[in-house]
């Protein structure tokens, strides 16, 4: 494998909630993302997917472990090297109503990074702004320059967010629930724009979502990782993960998702959990964190030892004690 663009080595992140109480939002996660690759992180709220994204973007420092950008540990980076990393990894946030400055025009929003980082001025600056707007399919771009965010629809705003991330020519984009606030009828076109940009600019994308069907669509050629209580439960090529899930948690999730087809969804076979209660991050279960709910619970092994993420088959990594055939 070529050198990964981003590599997480046993990364953990703790947050202090009271004087002597910590929660571990992300625990011992290792992950490699190659240049140009698409990876989706899926999981329920509180599973650590956003924290992972923020650590990769350099917005949070890991408590333990290392994050490497093009082979370099980012924790100690300073000056030009730090700037190169921060420019190389850009983030698109969930809420386009909150992430754009309401008092600035679209031109202002996009011009600032172009001035600062690409030293564009005057006509070049304007051309640069028009250029990024066109790259996210906001055309004709001149119509948007003088508008304020409140004059745009949710989908258009999110496109401006993406355009802003693109101004600094990143190598990696982290999109945290980037379409969850966009109307269903236009989600796909926004995702397609992201995919085209990935193709055209060779971008790698980490897409964080709670929607497995959306993850499968977006990471069609890439991988999907499923997180549970701060750990990676399973990571595999997207279609493989959906069609042949290995980890009991992935299987439960997939069986719980309703289908947009009454015939199929009403006869879908469901896997019941042993318990509906999501454990608190303050009192994580011993051993495998999923064991109190796991429908395939095997007894002591699950209770006492933490399963390591191990390779099964070609590219599927699973952290479960259950033998592969079961």
């Amino acid at each position: 494998m070529t050198q990964p663009l981003i590599e997480l080595k046993n990364v953990s992140r703790r947050f202090q909630v009271k004087r002597n109480t910590f929660i571990t939002a992300v625990s011992d996660v290792s992950l490699q993302i190659a240049p140009g690759e698409v990876v989706c992180l899926v999981g329920e709220s509180g599973c650590g997917k956003t924290t992972t994204g923020k650590m990769i973007a350099g917005l949070l420092a890991p408590s333990e472990g290392q994050i490497l950008f093009e082979g370099q540990d980012v924790t100690g980076l300073k000056g030009a090297a730090w700037e190169r990393y921060r420019l190389g990894v850009q983030m698109v946030h969930q809420d386009p109503y909150a992430s754009l400055n309401p008092t600035q025009t679209i031109f202002d929003i996009l011009a600032a990074p172009l001035q600062r980082h690409r030293a564009l001025r005057g006509a070049d600056l304007r051309a640069g702004v028009v250029d990024v707007l066109e790259s996210v399919d906001l055309t004709p771009a001149v119509d948007f320059l003088d508008k304020f965010p409140h004059q745009l629809s949710g989908g258009q705003r999110q496109r401006v967010s993406v355009a802003r991330a693109l101004t600094v020519n990143p190598k990696f984009i982290i999109a945290d629930e980037a379409v969850s606030m966009v109307d269903v009828s236009i989600r796909i076109s926004l995702l397609n724009t992201l995919l085209q940009l990935k193709e055209r600019n060779g971008l790698a994308v980490l897409f964080i979502t709670h929607d497995l069907a959306l993850a499968k669509y977006f990471a069609w050629e890439g991988r999907v990782g499923v997180m549970y209580l701060g750990k990676l439960a399973e990571i595999a090529p997207a279609r493989q993960l959906v069609e042949a899930p290995q980890h009991p948690y992935t299987r439960v999730l997939l069986s719980a998702i309703p289908e947009a087809d009454p015939e199929r969804t009403r006869h879908k076979q469901r896997i019941e959990l042993r318990s509906m209660d999501v454990p608190s991050l303050l009192r994580l279960p011993s051993g495998c964190a999923f064991h109190p709910r796991c429908p395939f619970y095997m007894g002591d092994v699950c209770k006492t030892s933490v399963p390591a993420l191990t390779l099964r088959g070609d590219q599927t990594w699973v952290s479960c004690h259950l033998p592969p055939s079961a």
Binding site: V184, S185, A213, K216, Y217, V252, A256, P258, P262
Partner: protein, 358 residues
């Protein structure tokens, strides 16, 4: 659908609701006709801003003060144990006093943001007592017994919930408490606004199972508002697609999913990726939803519709029977819609899981 559909509980005719905004009148609901039948589950499907929540709020008359019901009637029928009409009235004509009694006794609504619906400083037991008192219902031990029964139905641990404050419960638990509260007075009709939105997958599944189970046992009419087609596929008997303040298609759930007639419904079905759909069968609807203050002429969907012709730009179609008398669509070109927009390889036509691609 049986040849003799169930009697109608709520019959909405020609309902128009407008909001007054600075720029002009927002036509959120435009001359809607809609029947909710006894014991049926009806899904109102559409994008945000299509007017579906306004319909729900209009039924229980909880619209904000800038909104006005400008025309139409909403006839509600309460049935006795033998299925005979006990009383019949127009919701619009109820006095504020009668309206208050109607709201919980005849029709309960569960709102979208489950946390905001509670008073944060009252325990769940007090919220129940409040509601019961306002409606002259059981108090004390009898109320507790009834509440425990309902908690059992919605799969909550009564002991734990009864003495909790709202913030001590998770989102899914709060949603279930609200459903239980809605059922307190045995209302024959329940309106749920986005019952599973913003909940995690496993919690969503739990709410769906609870709702199915409740309907089997209690046989109330359920109107639920959602943008999620799969929720409708799972729970609904009939589906109404709402676009720009109008119902553009309504029909039996199986029929609607197998033979959608309106280009917008077809577009929605194709726009939502499913676990089994092939990537190539998923596509967005071009454009964005219309501005409800300054709407397009003719069919409101024509600027986004791949089938639009001159007539669509000029004249707005009304609901007409399509493939069956029970399946209505408001489209000039419904006859061509499905075969043009949904060729045979579409997701709903391939029952087996999609084969992996080379």
């Amino acid at each position: 659908m049986t040849p003799n559909p169930a009697p109608v509980t709520l019959s909405i005719r020609n309902l128009t609701i407008e909001y007054q905004a600075k720029r002009g009148k927002v036509q959120a609901v435009r001359q809607i006709n809609l029947d909710v039948r006894r014991s049926e589950a009806l899904a109102l499907i559409g994008e945000s801003g299509s007017g579906k929540t306004t319909i729900g709020l209009g039924i229980v008359r909880l619209l904000v003060s800038t909104a006005q019901i400008t025309s139409g009637e909403m006839i509600f029928r309460r049935f006795d144990a033998n299925g005979k009409v006990e009383k019949e009235f127009d919701i619009r004509k109820l006095s504020p006093e009668q309206m208050r009694s109607f709201r919980w006794k005849d029709c309960a609504m569960v709102f979208q943001a489950a946390l905001n619906a509670f008073n944060p400083v009252l325990k769940i037991r007090d919220q129940f007592a409040d509601t019961a008192r306002a409606h002259g219902y059981l108090q004390g031990a009898a109320l507790k017994k009834r509440a425990y029964e309902l908690f059992g139905l919605v799969r909550l641990d009564p002991e734990r919930v009864w003495n909790s404050y709202p913030h001590e419960l998770s989102g899914g638990m709060r949603q279930r408490v609200l459903i239980a509260l809605g059922l307190l007075l045995d209302a024959p009709m329940l309106i749920l606004d986005e019952p599973t939105t913003a909940l995690d997958i496993l919690t969503q599944r739990n709410i769906m199972d609870v709702l199915k189970d409740l309907r089997d046992r209690l046989r109330f009419s359920l109107v639920f508002i959602s943008h999620d087609l799969s929720l409708a596929a799972e729970l609904a008997d009939r589906i109404a697609t709402v676009y720009a303040g109008r119902i553009v298609e309504i029909g039996n759930v199986y029929d609607t999913f197998q033979n959608p007639q309106h280009p917008y419904t077809i577009g929605l079905m194709k726009a939502v990726p499913t676990l089994t759909a092939h990537r190539d069968n998923v596509s967005s609807i071009p454009g964005s939803p219309p501005d409800l203050i300054d709407m397009p002429t003719g069919c409101k969907f024509h600027p986004r519709c791949p089938l639009a012709v001159e007539k669509c730009r000029k004249e707005e179609p009304t609901l007409v029977p399509t493939t069956s008398p029970e399946h209505l669509a408001a489209c000039w070109r419904w006859m061509e819609a499905k075969q043009t927009l949904m060729p045979a390889s579409a997701p709903s036509d391939s029952p087996e899981t999609s084969r992996s691609q080379p």
